[in-house]
Symmetry: C2
Subunit: 234 residues, 2 copies
């Protein structure tokens, strides 16, 4: 779903893959289009780059990668194709930036934040499930998680986009497992607990909740799902 706050990985889905994941880093970006302070040459851009990127996020989030055309994007962003390609590169590169920024947004970061702020593993995952139940169906943005649902149906030529999100999801599951392994070593989980299986179970529930939210489930319904899911905790 989201992105991790402190380390740079989130559970089940998010964009901590690259540097620039945490804002604390000192070395200023050289890959990212750095926002120069004042001195600009030439004609100034006629659109707000962040606003345009936000419009792209919403579109990709709602429809997915291939179902969103460049015409859809330029219309929603209020710019012409030339401006889009000059500012963001091609469609694939724009999508990668969308995924990266989604991971830094509240919806894309809540998992990592919970893992960073909660000391207990049980408290962290309980918070994650309960927050997902409210965040995923929130009508202020498209339902569910972009990392989970934006590249499910793709042609072979866009298999790379599918792999990008799949790797993010699997990396997040690994973050779950690492956290649960540490919890078992700390004695929070019983010695017989299976961190790998529990991580898979939690990732399964979260991904299922994203799907349910997209199918119209309400925060109340998903909250009851979250409470039921937590009963399986060892």
């Amino acid at each position: 779903m989201t992105e991790a706050a402190t380390p740079d990985s989130a559970p089940t889905a998010d964009p901590p893959a690259d540097p620039a994941a945490d804002p604390a880093a000192g070395r200023a970006a050289d890959p990212a289009p750095r926002p120069r302070p004042h001195p600009r040459r030439g004609r100034p851009p006629a659109f707000d780059r962040d606003e345009a990127l936000g419009a792209a996020i919403r579109l990709f989030w709602e429809r997915g990668y291939e179902a969103t055309s460049v015409t859809d994007l330029t219309t929603a962003m209020g710019i012409r194709p030339g401006s889009l390609y000059a500012a963001f590169g091609d469609k694939r590169t724009l999508f990668e930036e969308v995924v990266r920024r989604y991971g830094h947004s509240p919806v894309g970061a809540f998992v990592g934040i919970a893992l960073a702020e909660e000391t207990g593993a049980r408290a962290a995952f309980a918070r994650i499930l309960r927050e997902a139940a409210v965040i995923y169906p929130d009508p202020s943005h498209p339902a569910g998680c972009l990392v989970i649902s934006a590249a499910t149906n793709v042609t072979p030529q866009d298999a790379g986009v599918q792999a990008l999100l799949r790797d993010l999801r699997n990396r997040n599951r690994q973050v779950f497992e690492d956290r649960l392994l540490a919890a078992r070593q700390d004695g929070e989980l019983p010695p017989g607990a299976d961190p790998k299986a529990l991580a898979g179970y939690l990732a399964t529930v979260i991904q299922g909740m994203s799907q349910q939210a997209r199918d119209g489930a309400t925060p109340e319904e998903l909250t009851r799902v979250a409470e039921l899911a937590l009963r399986a905790w060892p």
Copy 2:
């Protein structure tokens, strides 16, 4: 995922929507293209309709509705566009027939079969989760459930296809709820149990398992997920 055997609905995903859902019915099909016994006129078809439909199922199952082009279909089916349109109508109609037949296939029907064969609700859902853990990642067919994942990313013009599968999923969730409500009335579930919440939870886990299977989870991993999920049973 699948289709229901006895009534005509399955949990979380399947095609029991139309008549022809259960094989027990006596009235022979009038909407379905009936296979006439012997006497045929004109040039005989040069391809096996069932085999061609099977190829279409695999393609839609693997890539989804929009990511599968008519050219992909005709290539895999070994026929030319004209034959496809003559035999199956347009792409949308072909997809509807694919969904219908998927629901009658083993992978698309195991949920309904378990619900029909198991007398106890707990036994039925335990069997469903355990079978899903083995069936979803089975390499003899595309991973996961077609009804869950074949129409996630669609353009607005194909919203109808998305709605078709969403309705199927939600109808299956309702079948779960009905079954659990009956179980509570029979005393199998405690009076305090919440059939609606439990149905949502089970649908969530199943849909999550389909996604996990698509992301590469093994039968062993998914079986452990299923066992963990069953610990939440009231």
